[in-house]
Symmetry: D2
Subunit: 477 residues, 4 copies
Amino acid sequence: MLAERYPYYLANRPRQPNAELAVTHKYSGEVVTHVAVADAAAVEEAIAAAVRAAEPMRKLAPYARQAVLEHCVRRFRERAEELALALCIEAGKPLRDARGEVDRLIDTFKAAAEEAVRGGGEVLNLEVSKRAAGYRGFTQRVPVGPCSFITPFNFPLNLVAHKVAPAIAAGCPFILKPSDRTPVSALIMAEILAETELPEGAFSVLPVRLEDIGPLIEDDRLKLLSFTGSEKVGWELKARAGRKKVVLELGGNAACVVDEAPGAPLDFIADRVAQGAFFQAGQSCISVQRVLVHASLYDALREKLVERAKALRPGHPSDEATTLGPMIDEPAARRLEGWIQQAVQRGARVLAGGGRRGSVLDATVLEGVPEDASLSSEEAFGPVVLLQPFDSFDEALAQVNSGRFGLQAGLFTQDLSRAMKAWDELEVGGVVVGDVPSFRVDTMPYGGVKGSGIGREGVKYAIEDMTELRLLVLRQA
Amino acid sequence: MLAERYPYYLANRPRQPNAELAVTHKYSGEVVTHVAVADAAAVEEAIAAAVRAAEPMRKLAPYARQAVLEHCVRRFRERAEELALALCIEAGKPLRDARGEVDRLIDTFKAAAEEAVRGGGEVLNLEVSKRAAGYRGFTQRVPVGPCSFITPFNFPLNLVAHKVAPAIAAGCPFILKPSDRTPVSALIMAEILAETELPEGAFSVLPVRLEDIGPLIEDDRLKLLSFTGSEKVGWELKARAGRKKVVLELGGNAACVVDEAPGAPLDFIADRVAQGAFFQAGQSCISVQRVLVHASLYDALREKLVERAKALRPGHPSDEATTLGPMIDEPAARRLEGWIQQAVQRGARVLAGGGRRGSVLDATVLEGVPEDASLSSEEAFGPVVLLQPFDSFDEALAQVNSGRFGLQAGLFTQDLSRAMKAWDELEVGGVVVGDVPSFRVDTMPYGGVKGSGIGREGVKYAIEDMTELRLLVLRQA
Amino acid sequence: MLAERYPYYLANRPRQPNAELAVTHKYSGEVVTHVAVADAAAVEEAIAAAVRAAEPMRKLAPYARQAVLEHCVRRFRERAEELALALCIEAGKPLRDARGEVDRLIDTFKAAAEEAVRGGGEVLNLEVSKRAAGYRGFTQRVPVGPCSFITPFNFPLNLVAHKVAPAIAAGCPFILKPSDRTPVSALIMAEILAETELPEGAFSVLPVRLEDIGPLIEDDRLKLLSFTGSEKVGWELKARAGRKKVVLELGGNAACVVDEAPGAPLDFIADRVAQGAFFQAGQSCISVQRVLVHASLYDALREKLVERAKALRPGHPSDEATTLGPMIDEPAARRLEGWIQQAVQRGARVLAGGGRRGSVLDATVLEGVPEDASLSSEEAFGPVVLLQPFDSFDEALAQVNSGRFGLQAGLFTQDLSRAMKAWDELEVGGVVVGDVPSFRVDTMPYGGVKGSGIGREGVKYAIEDMTELRLLVLRQA
Amino acid sequence: MLAERYPYYLANRPRQPNAELAVTHKYSGEVVTHVAVADAAAVEEAIAAAVRAAEPMRKLAPYARQAVLEHCVRRFRERAEELALALCIEAGKPLRDARGEVDRLIDTFKAAAEEAVRGGGEVLNLEVSKRAAGYRGFTQRVPVGPCSFITPFNFPLNLVAHKVAPAIAAGCPFILKPSDRTPVSALIMAEILAETELPEGAFSVLPVRLEDIGPLIEDDRLKLLSFTGSEKVGWELKARAGRKKVVLELGGNAACVVDEAPGAPLDFIADRVAQGAFFQAGQSCISVQRVLVHASLYDALREKLVERAKALRPGHPSDEATTLGPMIDEPAARRLEGWIQQAVQRGARVLAGGGRRGSVLDATVLEGVPEDASLSSEEAFGPVVLLQPFDSFDEALAQVNSGRFGLQAGLFTQDLSRAMKAWDELEVGGVVVGDVPSFRVDTMPYGGVKGSGIGREGVKYAIEDMTELRLLVLRQA
């Protein structure tokens, strides 16, 4: 079970000046613990500490950075079940999903531990013209300095890990503001980080009120702002970020195309789509929202998908049998229910689900949703999937590209040329052939284009953002 | 000689709706030609054309992009003397400097021609954990789309080339707004580009009035804004740039450290410092502004440097004997003269120069300039160099790092450990050991940190910014 | 027309001590020119000169190496028709094929010119464990030193270029022994190289008698032996090569699989197979020798292929209408004719061709050739192609892998998973999907496994073989 | 303590058909254990099993290869003291050195575990000329297949690890023949490997008599021969290796240059040289054999070095106080004693040591050794170091380059240009600036040129040798 109260971590140390942030069980709605909230003075203190920690962090040897990350891996393994339970409670994740996230947390830190000793650079030939005779170049990547991280509620561990672990590998101090709805997981991670030899000030994990968050966005002593969250907030932050580098991992309305020769059995496809759409109640940036099915397969796949949606078992997330948990809160569920109703009014048909009990929305399948309905064009971020038939492959690609998002797309096809065409034409960060857009391995480059963000995560790629190239030119006497 | 009037280029074609922009000879001050100015409607038309050109540019085969760039190289070689003369007139560059810039223009396009056929990506192992069994990853870099380029007066050809040539290699359409003081060179480049097979809309070169420039900064159909110019303007642009990627190549007050065992004869060092400080009247982002000299060498080097400053011969830039040309205009020269006077009032001593005739400022050497005088802490951008002795190497490094810029630094030392230390400790984009900070090869990564900007140019590096990673994941059935 | 006599080149200079090697017109059989032959003393002299040239070649700046290669590109363009004619005469290539080879010669040198300024290395993090704290690593590639090249008759220019151009880019002196049947093309190349600033001794091009060739294989002053030619000779050379690195580009009996859904029209496939099989009378290492066709397409493709074989027009290679030239000499044609007859005796059916007039063998199509007949299991190296149906894709892959060669394989399939499977399972250097195995771009990695050789050519890859890694470790004081 | 008898491992399984190989304690000379010896039939069986294992090894997923390697790391840590003791006994290493080798064994396997999931390749642009329009390239590295490893006595664990760990990471089955003087360590490693999920046949560790070793060198079913050992044997193996790739890690007579401004205190230098020269009785390929000291420092450094040599404490290796252990056997010690005497007869002076008790040779320092005496020009492979003064840096470089070896060189200098010059000019695999040539990190590229071998080890580099590039070309329909 959770502790009664959780301190925040400022400059590597726990502090419990208050317990003002109540954290609820996302299924029962009961308050289960209280968390300390950092005020403006604490934020300033954390920034100042991070600035002081920049040099020791830069100088922390690669093997020492690796040792810190390996310690975390060991401790996450030891405390895995506790972490899963925390996710289950504060995020409302069914246990199986929660355990899956802990596994990925470990993968992410493990990858960062491996990267920590990889750093390096290039030896450059500069003698490309006579005026450069006798010069040589060398590059290294140096940490950008203190970073600011803001993370969402849907993966309270692994989306935090995708910022924290690369920062340690890169040698950057950081201040993390976790979601105020799911701060506990990040605070347990901080507890484990506090066991390590990280230099003082290397990390702060601070629940902060909206009115005090300004410096985390605007203060130019912070050199990078990495935000995972909603589209609207993300782009606003970019405009306020001053001289910082900005990485935005925003949402999408991910599409999955099922071509006429899909290269996989329909049952497999239906399984994967159901998983991609309803996994942790659809609250993933790459949740399957739109399924474009070749007309010849449409009826058959629809039937299988509806069947799977109906078979999901909502319930208490810590019940091992539960396969569908709540959304993050009732307003979120209401918002999505409203979009469903709006779509239905405009002609959509509900094939499965559509109902809501509190924050639990049924696994919902629709067809006939107008393209410009919110349910299609906005990010649903809930257990809803829209079906739509298509006749030509090019038309399907155009559909995927319509709209303002561009994170990942799935494509079931066995056709080599179409796979290559999709790779060339789809305006997304990643095209997944043979699976749903929801596929992610923690080492792969991950991130969106268009409205879905800027920059890439996936350990090695995040480290690139957290470092900058420094050139050395040597003239040979 | 220059033509009587120059059209602008909109969507690859010349247009001469007016000739409203008068271009002066920077030495005589006389108006020498007139250039067409694009209004708001033309800007919109250019953006729309660039958006339409994005797909054909993306599909233009690498060998075809290479052919375009090789055409430019050939034509630049044929028209080299004309281009040098244009620089001489509109930028006031002594002929030798002007010819040097044309050589580098050619180097830059040649490097881009080579890069055009290099593109590629990575095959990624994704099987890092059991859940990814059977998946593989591939990356390619795709062009970001239409780009917006804003360039300064000090290298009217080569700083334009550092945006234009990579854009062609990367497959991005672009709209370039050249400096309104030196638009002619860029328009001749446009004339040559118009001879190629670039798809319609691939490029526009538009002198634009300040009041019409907004969309080039703010319009989100443009995917990247690359600006070279002043610090103040640069950072403002970043805040207004919306969802675009932003590259800023701003200025600096570059320092050069001459250590006690400098590893090169003092005469060589004095030659290089004089060249780095007074080359094209000091109007380079990496002009040597501050020289930190070990106390044991101070007097000797000072003498040699003063001698060289005094030996420079100001005059008409097209006179082959001229070694010091005018600054870009009289207000600029007056501004810098004012800073000199202010420094002198605060105790600085003028060792050479200090005078001004119109826009020609003497090659000026000072010592005793207070660190917080504008002449030291701001970007001088003129033929002025400050000398300062130091006692310990660490102190010298600290001096270089003080202040808000961080572009390049020079270091004369023969000490291996100090060279490595400087590479590790100096907060700049590049450390040049054995030469002045003014050293640049057009293929090397180039750009600043801190106030000096964000992002890197140098053909390959610019191409990286102009493209984005697109992942393909294949699940093997 | 050819000159009356050609000198050899020893240490960059022409020498004409004799004219003992008669070169015939490969169609008419007439002697058309005479070439000087190097004796044992000349070989020794060339080796000694190459050894002396190793240091100046290593020190030749990258831009200077590039200038040499660019000079060659320019001169090859100017003398293109003369080079094509030389190929036409001494190799018996139809003009179209000869011109194609000259184009590729230019591509190869152009690629090497680009690579010449690329060299570089890595900056390595060595701080992977505590005992290495404070150490850093750097790598550069240094030229291996004098190289020995032995080249065949079938691409007298471009297979020479694939050794010569990378050697210049890498900074290695070399001694080239061209085929004694086609020495002229290489000697014209040497003539052009002699116009450049290459250091004395950097290159020798020496026709050498078999009895004098020993030192080119065995002398340990030569650091790399790169041989393109027959399997039997190649592997024998490896055993005699002493301490040298050895690159062997040997032959194969390349297969092309046409799957049931081949992803391309049968007419296109038939065109490509005919081209791959009969191009320059099949005398290419990656000539299509075996075509494995899915049973469902077998009859249709057979018909189209037979039609194309019959449509080829044998004749004098310098006649623009000729599409099938002679084999290199009559013994070669007889040898292959013998294999055809042997196969027929063992049950094979000739579907087209099968006849011979002097050194011109008909474009020949067979089916039913036993797998262990020489015509199938040995390298045919002539205008012969064998058809064979298959039922399952796995069986086809197994067929390709049977036998002792492994250079390239072609695969017509539109199936993504089969394409990936072929990439994973086929034991060859390269799998070409959507085309015949005969496809080669001069920058791609090219070379075989199993009996087909060891090492890779393709400019960048050859440069890797011609250089070796040299590490620098720096301990920071 | 050691077991009474050790089985060999054939196709992953222990077998104890005999105990014919007696292993002695290298200090006491007593037989301490017996090891099974594989006969010709067993060798054939192991090869056949390795051939069968090639496909399952290739298909073993990267994460599964990593798991095997991580298992080894865990087990090595658990059995570290036992492994150190085995080294102590069978190799006669002082405990401190033995523990150091176990640490490095772990580093090596850890690095391989990290590399196991790195594999990947390149996406190549092939559209470099019009004829390649529509083609793209991809590379992957595939395991070469069964490998043959032959290892020496001086690092019975870590030099085995440098072949075994990369083979597992690369996916190659292997047969290892350990030194018959130190087979136990490798057999304990085999015992641990046998606990893993490696496919049957993936590994065999076989002590083999010389007369039965032929197939491990000559059989072409084995695709790579990697040998670490003596120069003479190595090059003979290359000539007998048939079609295999060959990696030879041979010896050297490593030099260390101490320049006039060495950039480190003489005491530090003396410590490092003593360590590099006498560490495990000088039985390392990169043991310091020749020290070239600038004349101005010669006397001072000589004194310090002699002092350190005399302070070494010979004794029983398992005594914690022992700092100098025995050589591998008495004949080895006699051989080196003979070389010392021969050198003395030719004018050399013994400054320290020179005596021998059984297999323990004193830590010996000499000066005035003629360059062509065996003690200078051959590999000493024992606790002997020669001092020699020099006057000019260029002369010192020339000295290092004289002779037929080229593994690593050390250079103490603080001069940047000299460090770069040494990197450019020294004909060795690695130049270590600021330390002795004996420095090695297990991830760095390591290997020699000239007589010292061919190829590079250091996990990533070994994996490159154990894999080959396989290209995929896709023509886009």
